[in-house]
Symmetry: C2
Subunit: 209 residues, 2 copies
């Protein structure tokens, strides 16, 4: 099993490789990816090595081949469907996030309790909460994003589990509880991220990003 931070690095390598590809690079060296992502070349090679991603000695990595392999590891070789629960600013931000357009990530619908948010005609339509389970099952959605206030998050989480969701990205600042060990939960707490930044500014030390 590989650690969370190793996988995060693979994503960054992939993004860097994509940018280099758009500059018409055909091949890339561990050193290039290291510069672009702020790690050591050695780390890049070690990360690749652990996933069986290999290049050519002296010749670096063919970008297209590298991207294929990285996308495979990251599960981006096939479309991954997401729903967003809670269509406030944050939820709306996820629905409209431009970075997903040319990726295999698709936000297929939003859900909310507020009728003024409903919109069945939009590209990513917004439905009432009680249609969630049926929608998830019909459309075989595997992932959910929780962007509701903290007091509602646990309840939404339980609904997502019941609907058969496999992975959850949680923006609410609480630790979601479940005895279902099949579901994967990752938390993203904006206040925590900001506090982290404040700390490192106050101590005037910039840690590895």
């Amino acid at each position: 099993m590989s650690s969370r931070s190793r996988i995060l690095r693979l994503s960054r390598y992939k993004n860097a490789a994509l940018r280099l590809k758009s500059l018409n690079f055909l091949k890339v060296f561990s050193d290039n990816l290291a510069d672009a992502t702020g790690v050591t070349a050695s780390q890049v090679r070690k990360d690749f090595s652990l996933f069986g991603i290999s290049g050519n000695r002296r010749g670096g990595y063919q970008i297209d081949e590298l991207l294929t392999q990285l996308n495979k590891v990251l599960g981006k070789d096939k479309l991954q469907k997401f729903i967003v629960v809670g269509v406030g600013n944050m939820g709306r931000g996820m629905i409209n996030y431009p970075g997903f357009i040319k990726s295999e990530i698709k936000i297929v619908a939003g859900f909310d309790i507020d009728p003024s948010k409903y919109n069945r005609k939009a590209d990513a339509p917004v439905f009432p909460m009680d249609e969630l389970t049926a929608f998830v099952k019909t459309n075989e959605v595997e992932f959910g994003i929780i962007a509701v206030p903290d007091f509602a998050a646990q309840e939404v989480f339980e609904r997502l589990i019941q609907a058969g969701i496999k992975g959850v990205l949680n923006f609410a600042p609480i630790r979601l509880k479940s005895d279902n060990t099949d579901i994967v939960v990752h938390n993203l707490n904006l206040e925590t991220e900001i506090e982290n930044l404040i700390y490192f500014v106050n101590t005037k030390v910039n840690p590895a990003e």
Copy 2:
């Protein structure tokens, strides 16, 4: 110097302690905080120990005292002013983020190039970009949030540096470059976070959250 993940944990302990306080708890044990945040009790104590935060053997930690000490470490003993550059959904989400209301984090203004976003009267007003430097200096703002498209991020970053910003939270999916070593940059890439989730669902392993 302490690592990024250790500071992130301190934030989580603080959030957990706040919730317990709201339940009228007066004291809390390392074991409680461990449960609430998903780490071991030993880790909680070690983290505290490294910051000189101490409790009472057998008696746990006094919540009020603990919060005071955590807030001090995290720089939340005084108001921290932020501006947001790019008032799209994500930027708007940060401006309206409810978690900041009762914290010492204040988003004091937004900036955008789109005149339709301008609003000088709002609680967190939105101004044109060319007022940024003057605003930052007049109001002694230390922190900036970059929520613009990737192609604009580097330019915005340079403006923030020039204006004297000390810390930047960057949502754009690029690595910001600068030879100024005083500025602290933390990156938050939503696509990367989602790819990470996809990976762990696909490999059916839930790593430490």
